[in-house]
């Protein structure tokens, strides 16, 4: 808002006040009047007339009903006017009202000149902060915020002491959320090690004496279980899945009835890369309290992550209203569910249903935009002006919310894939068909047609059932039957004429609302590369995806890839013909020389200096290798060797247990995909060519074989060593390797040792949380 319209708005409000008799509103409108005054003051504040705002606030104090809002407004103005001592007094008064509001502590620190945005303080400041919080702790002994905040700024021995005092009573009490409360501390250097040591000491002390170190009093038996629970989450966070699983298994053995233990074990397995096992654990947790919606949702999410969509749907529906089943999740705008199932369909290549889910989320945001119209007249009538303005501001940034971003990005990816391989199901079928004899083909077509007809009939019947079920409500009144979804599989969504045009629709929304996200510009790059649209009008050059990517993160491997691919493509295009094309060509040339990465360098040189700069990082090496292959295909073997030679360094750890490699599971999967798709397609002919080529190069069959067999499977084997629980790499301890011949999963990850339990027949006694057998789910 500019100063002029703000001042104008204040004038209008004051003119309205002038109409009141004796400058006083009727008794039954006092709240509304107070709201109006607070709104007026917030307008003055926005126009930066702080003096005037404060004066008005003091003058109208008696008429403002909302005392809390009055104080918060007052302190905000005092701070803006630099009257910090008065501000301090009011923040203390606010803390007396609510000693768990972090913003009040922040404000108080600001008034005392003890606040920094990045949380970095000098030793002297830390000392003063420590003293401040110690005195506040005496005043507000029941507040948890006042105990937790010092952990953020204290260091070393003082941190250790405060952390121990903080953690002890919470472990005795049994607070399942303790780890997520502590987890932000893991981003600060050295604190994780201190926390590890202190929990290990608590564990040791309870095991030997039954109480905390230095305490005569014994702890209740549950404390050991909570300590193990915390330790398991600690090791999980540190990537030490072995230790983490050993601790959580011990906790489950100690007290097998605590549901949180199973949830966390599922989460650990998810991080370790075993998604089906994670889903099974979440389902075990769910089964322990069937009335808990959170457990149900968590379980559904895990099932979707493991691509068990049908099972997830059945489970989710347990908590929707009867008779309305699946539609209910849509009507309730249950977006996490729609996004997760969209992602799952996308992974499974079902673009139609994926698009359907992503577009459903997009529709919710359109609905929210529409819904604001309900508030315009309502808010004015009720005089809730501050809430109204807040709502308008919320609407302005509606499309920048993460769920919308995910949905739009998902939809764009679907359209990109659709463009790259139009209706994949048809081509695949054709391939299958071409291998068959004509008579077989005919039979197969008939079979397919029958199957399709059956499926259609079933769907119709089901819809009828559902509509009749929901049609008659409890009161016996006939309700308006829900319209039947005419396109349950999203087939129509796949029949778009121009997928790139559709993608552009959502891309524009992302560019407008999430311009600070790297992903937005990566998608924009992919869309525009396919459009072959380099000849942008010069006014649009600013929004060139490559430039945006470099602005956001010039060192990101993805930005590097886009930079090289873009100018490589430009370089291979034929010279422009028309005058306007020539002009843009020149502008692009100019742009190129303005980029520091490419200044005075060839693309090949730029690629090798990028590699040199980041040669310790796996993902950067992979990007450089991929680009080397794009720029100089004849150096492919060298490119592959670049990846092969990457070293998984051990993260330096101050005295903490066990080695952990730097590489993440996600990155290793990405590299495997790259090796599979970019360097080694499954085509046997190209493998042979590679082999002959390698042989010629090395003039030594052993080396050539070695390099050749450092194919994706070599990488896979290597990663299976780093991530033994990973399903993707078929690690030795993942649930996929323990599937026996009859398809039953018998030997699940065992606690600690390598001993193999004798295979038990299904349906026998199965220990808690051990995944002996994946239960046949019946709901």
């Amino acid at each position: 808002m500019n100063g002029f319209s703000g001042a104008k708005a204040v004038d209008i409000l004051e003119a309205y006040e002038g109409t009141l008799e004796d400058d006083y509103p009727p008794d039954n409108e006092r709240c509304e009047h107070g709201e109006m005054l607070l709104y007026k003051i917030s307008l003055l504040e926005e126009c930066e007339l702080f003096d005037k705002a404060l004066e008005e606030l003091q003058k109208k104090e008696a008429k403002i009903v909302d005392r809390l809002a009055f104080k918060e407004q007052q302190v905000s103005l005092l701070v803006k006017l630099g009257r910090l001592e008065e501000g301090e007094r009011i923040y203390k008064a606010l803390l007396a009202m609510n000693p768990d509001n972090y913003r009040y502590y922040e404000g108080l620190q600001k008034c005392l000149g003890l606040y920094s945005d990045n949380g970095q303080y000098s030793d002297d400041e830390i000392g003063r902060l420590h003293a401040l919080y110690r005195s506040l702790q005496k005043q507000y002994s029941w507040s948890s915020a006042v105990k937790r905040i010092p952990l953020d700024f204290l260091k070393d021995e003082k941190f250790r002491e405060a952390a121990e005092n903080y953690v002890r009573p919470l472990l005795t009490k049994g607070v399942p959320s303790l780890f997520s409360d502590l987890s932000p501390l893991y981003d600060q250097l050295g604190k994780a090690e201190i926390i590890e040591q202190l929990i290990l000491e608590l564990e040791n002390s309870i095991r030997t004496t039954g109480g905390y170190p230095g305490m005569a009093e014994k702890e209740p038996p549950s404390t050991l279980m909570w300590v193990l629970f915390l330790l398991a989450q600690h090791y999980d966070r540190r990537g030490q899945y072995d230790l983490s699983l050993a601790k959580i298994d011990e906790a489950i053995e100690h007290t097998p009835t605590v549901i949180d233990l199973y949830l966390v074990k599922g989460r650990i397995l998810k991080h370790a890369g075993d998604l089906p096992a994670a889903a099974a654990l979440a389902d075990e947790a769910r089964s322990m309290d069937l009335a808990d919606r959170y457990l149900n949702s968590e379980c559904v999410k895990r099932m979707l992550q493991a691509d068990q969509v049908a099972l997830a749907e059945k489970t989710a529906v347990l908590f929707t209203k009867d008779g309305d089943q699946h539609n209910n999740l849509h009507d309730m705008q249950c977006m996490w569910y729609e996004l997760a199932s969209g992602e799952s369909y996308f992974r499974q290549g079902d673009l139609g249903r994926a698009l359907k889910k992503f577009l459903a989320v997009e529709k919710h945001y359109a609905d929210m935009t529409e819904d604001q119209f309900d508030f315009h007249s309502y808010c004015l009538r009720k005089m809730t002006l501050r809430a109204y303005v807040e709502m308008l501001k919320f609407q302005d940034r509606l499309h920048s919310y993460p769920y919308f971003h995910k949905a739009a990005a998902g939809a764009i990816r679907c359209y990109l894939r659709l463009y790259d391989s139009p209706s994949p199901s048809v081509t695949e079928e054709d391939e299958e068909m071409s291998k068959l004899l004509p008579s077989q083909k005919k039979k197969m077509r008939q079979k397919q047609r029958k199957a399709e007809a059956r499926a259609k009939k079933e769907a119709e019947e089901k819809n009828e059932d559902e509509s009749s079920a929901s049609g008659v409500s409890k009161s016996g009144k006939r309700q308006h039957a829900k319209p039947v979804d005419p396109d349950p599989y999203g087939v129509k969504l796949l029949q778009v004429e121009d997928p790139l045009l559709e993608a552009t629709k959502y891309l524009k929304l992302l560019q407008k609302n999430s311009s600070e996200s790297l992903e937005t510009h990566l998608l924009s790059f992919e869309v525009n590369m396919r459009k072959q649209k380099f000849y942008l009008p010069s006014s649009q050059l600013r929004s060139l995806a490559v430039k945006q990517l470099l602005r956001l993160d010039a060192e990101s491997p993805d930005s590097h890839r886009c930079l090289i691919r873009f100018f490589h493509k430009v370089g291979t295009m034929s010279a422009p013909v028309s005058d306007s094309d020539k002009l843009i060509w020149n502008v692009l040339d100019l742009e190129r020389s303005s980029l520091s990465q490419l200044h005075g360098k060839s693309l090949i040189e730029a690629n090798s200096s990028f590699l040199e700069k980041h040669k310790e990082s796996l993902m950067h090496r992979a990007a450089a290798a991929e680009m080397l292959d794009v720029l100089e295909p004849e150096r492919r073997l060298e490119a592959i060797k670049l990846i092969e030679d990457s070293v998984n360094n051990v993260v330096p750890r101050n005295g903490a247990l066990g080695p952990v490699g730097e590489w993440s599971l996600k990155d290793c999967v990405a590299v495997h995909q790259l090796l599979k798709t970019a360097f080694f397609d499954s085509d046997a002919a190209s493998s042979l060519t590679m082999f002959l080529f390698a042989w010629k190069l090395f003039a030594d069959i052993r080396n050539a074989t070695k390099l050749l067999f450092f194919t994706p499977s070599g990488w896979k084997e290597r990663c299976a060593g780093y991530f033994p629980f990973s399903i993707y790499f078929e690690g030795t301890r993942s649930s996929v390797t323990s599937i026996s011949a009859d398809g039953n999963i018998c030997n699940a990850p065992e606690n600690g040792g390598n001993h193999q339990e004798p295979v038990r027949s299904l349906g026998s006694h199965s220990p808690n949380g051990k995944l002996e057998s994946f239960k046949e789910l019946t709901i």
Partner: protein, 164 residues
């Protein structure tokens, strides 16, 4: 007493929504896997089947079956009573058994009985403290554990009108 401070122990009923808690306990406590009938009997016994909570953690349970005697009276059979090992010695088993014993006179229960393996001295002594007596011995009661014999422990419930 293992704990140095008071922790509230509360009892809650078993329903189909939380029956898994009882299953988890039994898996940890007993070498036998109970069938579905055990669980439907336990739920049908309503007030006579209880889970014990130690500061919101389910750590023990008593599961009973109500049986009709010949004369139309009701007998209570204790199918299982158990507390997780780390939580023993805190009076939780006593609390569970007392709950059922207190309930019996109010519901016109004739007697209450159970089976104990003959070598389970701790178990036998525990029940004797509450007035149970060995009334019978059944040979080869258990199929897979040794010794296979069990005692029947019974306590006759004093009816309210007979009191005083």
């Amino acid at each position: 007493m293992g704990a140095g401070r008071e922790v509230a122990i509360s009892l809650d009923g078993v329903r189909d929504k939380n029956v898994m808690q009882l299953k988890k306990l039994n898996t940890a406590l007993f070498p036998v896997r109970y069938n579905d009938k055990y669980y439907s009997d336990a739920i049908a016994a309503a007030e006579f089947t209880k889970l014990a909570y130690f500061s919101d953690i389910c750590v023990g349970a008593i599961a009973c079956r109500l049986e009709k005697a010949e004369n139309g009276a009701i007998r209570v059979y204790i199918m299982t009573l158990g507390v997780l090992a780390p939580y023993r010695g805190l009076g939780i088993g006593t609390k569970l058994l007392n709950h059922v014993l207190d309930l019996c006179p109010k519901r016109n229960i004739l007697d209450i009985y159970l089976h104990v393996q003959t070598n389970n001295e701790d178990g036998i002594n525990f029940y004797k403290k509450f007035g149970f007596e060995i009334t019978d011995t059944i040979e080869n009661y258990y199929a897979n554990i040794s010794p296979p014999d069990c005692y029947v422990l019974t306590k006759v419930i004093a009816q309210p009108q007979q009191k005083k």
